[in-house]
Amino acid sequence: MIQASMIAAISVIIAFSSCTRNATTPPITSIEKTDSLKVNFSSSSPFAFFSFKNGAIVANSDSATLAWDFGLRFTTFILNSNAFGPGNAGAILQNNIYTAVTAAPSTGYAYDTTTSQKGIKDGSWYDYNPVTRSFAPKAGKTFIFRTANNFYVKMELLAVDYEAFIGPIPLRLIYRFRYTYQANGTTVF
């Protein structure tokens, strides 16, 4: 409990200090946002592409551009670099509390070396419960992304739910996540 409240206190301080920094150096460069993304369940359906900068889904027709940062299908992440895109995206999955991540590392970003050897390993970030058939994102896993255009983002998955469905297999998963996008190009959040 003491630790929890201390962490809460620390996160308040961090929030506060980032506020004061933003106030002294406008315009606001760090965007914090909670978003959700509908993702195909079937492994033969298209990926859902997401852009951190715009905080929006990107059309599949733009898959060969720098417009997207990561793609998601079922529980599989792909990144806009190497095997999947023209960008320079990479990812680090850090064991840390989201609010405690104050800076992105400068090196160590993983990417998809081939179409089946992914930078973000499937099964590394969730627990599957065979009774409820749920994919629960593990707590304390913070994703740090380098975007297709070399900007830095920290992201936490909050929940993965099934979209209501009738039939043998669910059609879509709904991912809820929060992220902080550093628009000034630095690694500090």
Partner: protein
């Protein structure tokens, strides 16, 4: 700290209640209340030979025929779960899924270990055919049980694999007197039981026949879901026993049993976008044949040769209701042959030596395994007792198992019992136990046809990966070499310590306490391979990884208030934790995220409550009235199961949040019976009087049910 304090208070409360009643009179001894017991109750499980319960240095609990009859229940699991420390546990995969039938049912959790870690014996021989580690206890008919012996703590030193948490040995009746007994049972949910027992004794020959038919319409806890929560079933049990004394020294005992069950399944499936109903059935057949020859060479030497054969089959099929096409089919076939020779040397009570050798030949075949499997295993055991100055009993034993699948297993046991005073004894034991990896974990070869993931048993991993790669289901660029070769799983191993004491006050009130601790290593768990199939789906296999401990104590008090009234009180405290989790908490590696506020924080040691599906506190109270002259008997039994963890909600996959619990509950059962001079007995009862139900989390608990039993004992018909 507060948790510990609470326990101390609870403990003191239990003790205080012991002291309060200890000045009254009259005695009962075991869990079969209502019968004035002398201290000559005989058990067989602890030493494989008949032995007075007073002499046994391990914790043992005996459930008598009297108790079984007093419950009026036709279900063995209901009888077992009314005992201290025997807790009904659903398999985590055994809960009904959206109207899908519960495929595994429930078993008994002992000393905080799952049902798979308790060996189930019938007349000393193992039953086969476990689904996901759970043996369907409905296979054992209640009508001809003489007594049930429960050893708590590892008994591998005598019984081999699976006896890690303990042994439940169901002893059926031996032919004693010529008798014909007929029983008719009726209960809620259209449940019917008919039982016939016939014993014929002529000179040196004793014959016994037993037959039982049991049927139930099942029940439905949730009308919103198509199909029943528990499907209707019909089963038959038969057994024949033949005892023949060739001479005074040579005796032959032979018995055969057969059980068949059909459960009628009806549920919804999806073949297209709309649900369609399927129906079909699951058929179970379980048979056993046990042949024993006893040679009593002298008072000092006895040899028993045994041949035991058993087979189990489970075949399930469901068909689409619309066009009667086969939709799904599952089967499991298992067979075991077990010859054994046992030698008993020694004359005096508590000075005997027992030794034996045996061999197991086993086959198993199932739709989810790649092909039929054959195993053989050799074992030998030895147990020696000494009694020093009539006060100190020392028992040393051990067993060696050489199985074709894994390395030699040596499991020793040491037990001491000391009679401090005529009415006070203390005992302690330490022993190891093991559990062979189960067949699933070794041989599963299964791909989910709907979603596409693959599960490979450890022994199939190498071949399975090569095949997947050959079939182009794994990307050619992935290096699978690190996963090829031998992946044989090691048996799961434990060390168990039990320390306890027994005290009898005025020989009328009995107290017993047992403190236990089990440390289990090499627990097998599922893991994800670090790469996926080309369809993006995971490949799973099994590995020895976890270490857990379970510890606690149980207390029982039995007391007779007067000739008519008696009671029995039991309590168990349990603490069961994963040691890997504890060390990860210590290293600040476990973080939780509140599902409402999304705030994350480190989990502390105090917040970690232990393994799921374990109640810290369980208790039972049985009050009984018995009027021998007029044949009246009545009892009321309360069972408390404290809250237990159900599933994670805060993203750390451990039990550390109040919202992850199922609330504690109390079951109250009562029964009343009258025995007439003619030998006719009638009984009425009610179970789950408070009508406690939880359709999602306790699917095996119907609401309130009623029962009526009639029994007639026709004496000297022959």
């Amino acid at each position: 700290m507060t948790i510990i304090k609470k326990n101390i208070i609870l403990f003191l409360f239990v003790f205080a209640s012991m002291i309060n009643v200890s000045f009254a009179q009259n005695a009962i001894h075991d869990t079969g209340f209502n019968e004035l017991k002398t201290i000559n109750e005989v058990t067989v499980t602890t030493t494989r030979t008949e032995k007075s319960i007073e002499d046994i240095p391990f914790p043992i609990q005996v459930i008598s025929k009297k108790f079984i009859q007093q419950t009026g229940s036709q279900k063995l699991i209901d009888i077992l779960q009314q005992q201290t420390g025997l807790i009904l546990s659903d398999n985590p995969l055994g809960q009904s899924l959206q109207g899908y039938p519960n495929p595994f049912g429930s078993g008994i959790q002992l000393q905080g270990l799952d049902p798979a870690y308790t060996l189930i014996l019938m007349d000393g021989e193992p039953l086969t055919g476990r689904n996901a580690g759970i043996l369907n206890l409905g296979r054992i008919a209640v009508g001809n049980i003489q007594q049930i012996e429960v050893i708590k703590g590892p008994a591998t030193s005598l019984y081999g694999s699976d006896a890690l948490a303990g042994v439940i040995n169901v002893i059926t009746e031996k032919p004693k007197n010529n008798a014909t007994i007929l029983q008719l049972n009726q209960a809620s949910n259209n449940t019917w039981g008919i039982t016939a027992n016939q014993t014929i004794i002529k000179n040196k020959l004793a014959l016994q026949f037993f037959a039982n038919r049991y049927s139930s319409s099942g029940y439905d806890l949730d009308n919103a879901i198509y199909g029943k929560t528990i499907d209707p079933l019909l089963n038959y049990s038969f057994s024949v026993k033949l005892f023949y004394d060739f001479t005074k020294k040579i005796q032959w005992q032979s018995s055969a049993r057969l059980f068949t069950q059909k459960q009628f399944n009806n549920y919804l499936v999806f073949t297209g976008s709309l649900p369609v109903a399927v129906d079909g059935d699951s058929k179970e057949i379980d048979g056993g044949f046990n042949n024993q020859l006893f040679y009593n060479f002298s008072n000092k030497l006895k040899i028993i040769s045994r041949l035991y054969l058993t087979g189990y089959q489970n075949n399930a099929e469901v068909f689409l209701q619309t066009d009667k096409q086969l939709f799904d089919k599952n089967f499991l076939h298992q067979f075991l042959v077990k010859p054994e020779i046992q030698i008993e040397i020694g004359e005096k009570r508590n000075q005997k030596m027992i030794t034996g050798i045996g061999y197991n030949y086993e086959t198993i075949e199932a739709d989810r395994y790649s092909n039929k499997k054959y195993f053989n295993a050799f074992y030998c055991f030895l147990q020696k007792e000494w009694l020093l100055k009539n006060k100190l009993n020392i028992t040393i034993g051990g067993r060696m198992d050489k199985h074709s699948l894994y390395a030699i297993q040596l499991n020793p046991k040491l037990a001491l019992a000391y009679k401090v005073a005529p009415h006070l004894s203390i005992a302690g034991s330490i022993g190891t136990g093991f559990k062979a990896p189960d067949f699933r974990q070794q041989f599963l070869y299964f791909t989910n046809s709907l979603v596409g993931y693959t599960l490979l048993g450890a022994n199939e991993l190498s071949n399975g990966l090569l095949q997947l790669k050959q079939q182009g289901q794994i990307d050619q660029s992935i290096n699978i070499n690190g996963f090829l070769g031998d992946h044989t799983l090691l048996p799961e191993k434990s060390i168990g310590i039990n320390i306890g004491g027994k005290y009898a006050l005025h020989n009328k009130t009995h107290f017993a306490i047992n403190v236990f601790r089990n440390d289990i290593n090499n627990l097998i768990d599922r893991y994800n391979l670090p790469f996926t199939k080309l369809n993006g789906q995971a490949i799973y296999s099994y590995v020895n990884i976890n270490t857990v401990f379970t510890q606690g104590y149980d207390v029982t008090v039995t007391h007779s208030i007067n000739k008519q009234f008696s009671f029995n009180l039991g309590y168990q405290y349990l603490d069961a934790k994963d040691k890997n989790i504890l060390s990860r908490i210590k290293n600040a590696e476990i973080i939780k995220r509140d599902p409402v506020t999304y705030l994350s924080s480190y989990v502390t040691k105090d917040q970690y409550e232990g393994l799921f599906n374990r109640s810290k506190h369980t208790a039972n109270l049985q009050v009984c009235y018995f009027q021998k002259e007029k044949g009246w008997m009545a009892n009321i039994r309360a069972n408390y199961r404290g809250r237990f963890g159900y599933s994670d909600i805060n993203g750390d996959n451990i039990l550390d949040d109040d919202r992850e619990y199922v609330n504690g509950y109390v079951l109250i059962n009562a029964a009343i019976s009258k025995l007439f001079k003619s030998g006719f007995e009638i009984q009425a009862g009610v179970e789950n009087l408070l009508n406690h139900k939880d359709k999602d989390r306790l699917p095996n608990l119907p609401g309130i049910t009623y029962l009526i039993n009639c029994k007639i004992n026709i004496k000297q018909l022959f």
